[in-house]
Homo-oligomer: 326 residues x 2
């Protein structure tokens, strides 16, 4: 099946545009754009942790595997160039399912002009595991980092938060276009994408910057999915439309308010941005993105994470999914 | 455990030399050497397929995960720059074991001056799965490919073949130094590393070059391990020193001669090189590498794989491990 899948892939993938040599040799050859810096990220997705094969369209699983990597490139304001996908496929998987996983990657790759330039396909007795490494480029010194926030900066966010488990974690749009527009026109001090939870990821951003952060709780945009998740937990809305896993996770965890979902659910893949107040003002007024930009907090000297609840500043415990990214 | 491992890794990894920003942000930042081409390869290793956790030192498993990628860079004559490692660790694994896997990678990375610049650490209910993406550089147009062999070229190989299962598949030295020396001083038409089996990989090299290949069977250097493997299969040597898996594979497969082991075992990670006869002659006489270079065949117009057995040319069936690399 591996040989069959690889032959299919070699015929299926579009002709190389940006790479000198793509799938089929011992390695791919790329010609980096002169004077650009190279941004590299890698993320691995696993059955039962990041998706459930039996419950999700294979295309969406392949799409997510690439999308989380593109979200990391967006968090650095990097223009995507190429991606490399390694997969461990269960022995029992049909070639058709494997192809559908690839189709999901290919469609997203085409949407964001990323070349799938190599990979490694394997079968084993274990469960589905997908690892993608994505390469992007930035002008020298222009990549956003987590470490650049300064006390006094305001915290802006794209989009809305919470309830991604309902399905959005498979459908989200990596904020590549938004990041490239912002990086070109505005001075962004620091950035990060929200994968593990708004409050947890913000606490990391602040820590890397050597400062603290206050989340203005009343300002956090709460996604419709977060309201739905809360209603489903309260039994006020049917859980029939949910996948068995989403249903089980929601109904077997503590009831949470929509705001709590927004602060801790994760997999929103929205951008957190630290910007000087004057730049923030311009951004909030002009709203240059297709998605809403909202002021949701500010950075301060005192390390730690805090909540601003109508003027009262209290410590806020970071919540989210604890694991090792990087 | 993921957070603990990541904190340990950030402290353990040597300071960045070649990257602008390493482990800890959303992605790494690299500054490619001006005018060089970028070579990218990715390989995934899985429990039960590429190693058996219970039978092998964790360091050797981590080492192998990086080594197979470096071998791919060697096959392109690329100088290694950076590597990115994603791992799915079984929930039951101790932090100590995970650290030992990392130590194996780190030691090999230091030996070959590769920076471990990023990764993704995860835990799951599944088995150990490691995916590494390695980046290297070559002067423009100088990367070796599989497609450059020409009829009339001679086929040279580094080292000896067969029996890697006895332990060499975990210990082999990627032929980076050899490749860089050869690429600097000699015109190599095509190259490939032997991962799946000498005869199978040679048939692929020939096919990618649009020609055929003849293996001169009497000239193939047979590794001591291949002789041992054959003796163990015949019951002429004890299998006591073998791992349970190696023992089971050898004793439950058809008895093979040492030559058959050399032609089909794979995981030798030696280099196959297609070179013009005059260059081959110079190489064979001067032997510029620490490892022996041997003429083991030649390329011809007629597509296919053939054996030269004391002057008689007969079709040779490619043997080895069929999966999808690339």
């Amino acid at each position: 099946m591996e040989r069959e899948l690889l032959d299919w892939l070699r015929a299926r993938l579009p002709k190389s545009r940006r790479t000198v040599l793509g799938v089929g040799d011992d390695a791919a050859i790329l010609r980096p754009t002169p004077s650009k810096e190279l941004i590299v990220t890698t993320d691995m997705l696993m059955e039962g942790v990041d998706f459930v094969l039996a419950e999700n369209e294979p295309e969406l699983i392949g799409r997510k595997a690439l999308a989380v990597n593109l979200s990391d490139l967006a968090a650095m304001a990097a223009e995507p160039v190429a991606a490399f996908a390694s997969v461990a496929l269960p022995n029992s998987m049909s070639v058709e399912t494997a192809q559908r996983i690839c189709e999901g990657m290919i469609a997203l790759a085409e949407e964001f002009n990323v070349e799938l330039a190599g990979g490694d396909t394997n079968t084993w007795s274990g469960q589905l595991c997908l690892s993608i490494t994505a390469l992007g480029e930035t002008p020298p010194g222009r990549a956003w980092r987590r470490s650049g926030a300064r006390p006094g900066d305001l915290l802006l966010a794209t989009g809305a938060f919470g309830g991604s488990l309902l399905a959005r974690h498979l459908h989200f749009i990596p904020r590549i276009r938004e990041a490239l527009l912002l990086a070109g026109d505005y001075d962004i001090h620091a950035a990060m994408d929200v994968s593990d939870g708004l409050s947890l990821d913000l606490s990391r951003l602040a820590r890397e910057s050597g400062c603290g952060a206050v989340l203005e709780l009343n300002a956090v945009p709460i996604h419709d999915d977060a309201y739905r998740a809360a209603r489903i937990q309260l039994g006020e809305e049917s859980s029939d439309s949910l996948s068995p896993t989403a249903k089980s996770v929601l109904l077997n965890s503590k009831n949470r308010t929509p705001l709590e979902h927004a602060l801790g659910d994760g997999e929103d893949f929205e951008l957190l941005l630290a910007v000087a107040p004057d730049v923030a003002e311009r951004l909030l007024v002009s709203q240059p993105l297709e998605v809403q930009l909202t002021r949701i907090g500010r950075f301060l000297e005192q390390p730690g994470l805090f909540a601003d609840l109508e003027g009262e500043i209290v410590p806020l415990e970071p919540r989210g999914y604890e694991h090792g990214g990087g």
